[in-house]
Amino acid sequence: MRRMVRRIAAVVGLLLCGAGLLYANEPAAPVPAAEIPAPVVSTGDTAWVLLSTAMVMLMTPGLAFFYGGLVRKKNVLSILMQCLIVLCLISIQWVTFGYSLSFGPDIRGVIGDLSWSFLKTVGGDPNPDYAGTIPHQVFMMFQMMFAVITPALILGAFAERMKFSAFCIFMLLWATLVYDPVAHWVWGVGGFLRRHGALDFAGGTVVHVNAGIAALICALVLGRRLGYERNISPPHNLPVAVLGAALLWFGWFGFNAGSALAANGLAGNAFVTTHVAAATAGLSWAVLDWIFNGRSTMLGVITGSVAGLVAITPGAGFVTAPAAMAIGLGSTVICFFFVAYVKPKLGYDDSLDAFGVHGIGGIWGAIATGIWATKSVNSAGADGLLYGNPAQLGIQAVAVLVTLVYSGVASIILLKLVDWLVGLRVNEREERIGLDLTQHRESGYTIID
């Protein structure tokens, strides 16, 4: 009992500590709020954001199929289940208190207060702080889908070996103690990274860097799968992974172009850059595969496309189409070499390369935004290195660093906590039989039928 209390105290202390440190980074002068249009609901903008929300919702099942097709048959349901449970669980968390923590009235730049819990005051009228032409509820919903998919991204790292109970607890804690504050810092009114001037159009830092580093920590803390890496079968169903990638790509239009929060030229720009980056990255991976492995592979193309989508996320509304090509190409080159050469050297088992794609790609994207951003695309943004403002690169780097450190440290703590509570990893017998049967008492497919 005393041991428990001690541990909890330690955890809380550490978290506060971390928060304090980060808080110290905050720049002194508050940035004045942008001028806001009169809060009248526009049907066109609302239609677009509603739809974007639905599209981003579909990304979580999309991710489930992308990841699910890549694991072994005996674990396919465990992946689908984890994704869908995250969808259910975090949606409820968001409505109950998560949204308020992230976007509610600011407490010292670090976190929102709880005054918007259960969507109190979040209704049909626009909240001009966030989006002046769509109902506040719709903005809340759109943001919910980001809060859902971010933790889901992590699960690629510990696929095929985490206990389902541990998974549920970890996800809830992580969403609350990591995602919600980081989202507040970057996007919340008063958040310290927002005031700091960091550009993150659709969540490069909040979503991908954040999830990516947590994924790396998970892979390290949980350890490798049995038999890794010799006796791990290849993807059990690549067409399903392709389906997942297609749904991700489709949904990403909502993710990035929807982040304009209006159906205007900016949304159009984000739409174009998103697609161009994905296409360039997919094609580049095919070329690298051809050069280094003798053949272009399907898995390579979808991996590349996802890497490109990740990398363009923070800059989608700040860069031009040719810059998107450069960003897409860069993401593939970096991720390809990381996954092919660096990761095997390091020896950790990030089952589905959640860090290799989302972490590395996300860092590249945040930095690249600091290089190619231009006010000619988005006057509310900033110029980057190539447009005469090298400082932006530094700002971007700080945002990445803060996220890496906070998310990394917090993830370790949370994992240790969960391990101590219920144990993180299934036992060897369960891992051999597979998670579908042992964690869910189901099989993905019938054998004799």
Binding site: P234, N293, G294, T297, F336, V339, A340, Y341
Partner: protein, 113 residues
Amino acid sequence: MKYVIAIIQPDRLDEVLDRLSAKEIHLVTVTNVVGRGRQKGIAEVYRSHTEAGSLLKKIKLEIAVNDSFLEATIDAILSGARTGNVGDGKIFVLDLPQCIRIRTGESGSEAIG
């Protein structure tokens, strides 16, 4: 009676079945298998990680025949399955002391056909 087991290349199945029919051997049971043999497989690559790829897709045929049909069976398989390349497979012949037709309960060599 003999129990003939043949491992053949997947794309030779139709040909072998035709040759067997031509010799009045209609009854066959077919299974999907994978085999490791002399034939070198194509090493698969997933995110630059190369898989051994030693197990190749094959088809297994099982044919129970009366002794007098054995040679015809083997000939039919050989002629239908041979491409001359490594990986063409094997024919194994086992003794079959007993055979029963489930529908009628008949047994022995009248049950086999």
